[in-house]
Homo-oligomer: 153 residues x 2
DNA sequence: GCAAATCTTGACTGAACAACTGGAGTTTGT
DNA sequence: ACAAACTCCAGTTGTTCAGTCAAGATTTGC
């Protein structure tokens, strides 16, 4: 698993929206400025998260994005799977993106058996961390502020 | 961490050479045919491993490659770091390939703290697996053969 | 109804990387 | 000297990454 900038931006944006959960929608530009993410690029990413059913949007002059799912139902694993693809280091050990690899005997492949362990370890962590856990961690790391949009992630 | 074909080929080749440790050199072509790896590509990869000090080569008509280090001194972590780069999912949590990321406060970044855990888990596994462990696992998975070059990895 | 701000969609680009392929050169054993 | 092997450099093809741009659709305030 490798997190590209795209994935990192997605997580940063989700945290902003998570801290603002059940409030009004947040504008792309607000997130873009606050998190220093190129606006056009962020547009794409948020749209992808909307197609994934994680966000919902409101159009027009008072428009913006908002979480559709509850923060404690959104795991890092699911977000990263959606944005980046497989969590496993090789796709022949991936559950969700399995692809056969070129080795002659997959069942008895020693490399594969190690990579399965790696995959397990990664999944165990990322399935366990929800957006609400992440937001809590932000609050802990930064202390309590009055306005959630002030958080530096 | 994501293992590209290049990295997978490197590991497969190393296993062949590991099973043949302290024997004669093995020719590129032998490894290529046995493991179904494009010869020219494998050439490059073995050369890289030689520059890394992991392999040594012998030129000429009876030439080929051989492990330079002992199999129990070669960890998967070191091989993958050399061939692929950082093990960490983002380079701002990498020990060996650290790069600052774009978030405003790295020390208090919640994403970073999760990614550190992921990195730790990956490293713990891959530092613990040496080439000799891997070769043992191949022998276990496949039973004992007379000729090490017969192993299907 | 109109303007302004916002999201939506899709195409486009430039750089980097992956996975090879080719060819010329060098070393070595016989 | 010669052929089989490795070494080194260069180029190719295709894909992904990280954006950018343009044009369109939607909503709201006035």
């Amino acid at each position: 698993m490798k997190l590209s900038l795209r994935g990192e931006y997605a997580l940063r944006a989700l945290i902003v929206l998570g801290l603002n959960y059940e409030q009004d929608v947040v504008r792309i530009q607000t997130i873009s400025e606050q998190q220093n993410i190129p606006k056009r690029f962020l547009e794409q990413i948020l749209n992808d998260l909307r197609s994934a059913g994680i966000l919902e949007s409101k159009r027009g002059i008072a428009g913006g994005y908002r979480l559709k799912q509850s923060p404690d139902q959104i795991t890092l694993a699911s977000v990263i799977r959606y944005i980046e693809g497989p969590l496993a280091p090789v796709s022949c050990v991936s559950e969700n993106f399995y692809e056969r690899c070129s080795c002659p005997d997959e069942e008895r492949c020693a490399i594969r058996s190690i990579m399965k362990e790696v995959r397990e370890a990664i999944v165990r962590i990322l399935e366990g961390v929800t957006l609400s856990v992440l937001c809590d961690r932000v609050r802990t790391l930064q202390g309590v502020h009055s306005n959630p949009l002030d958080y530096v992630i």
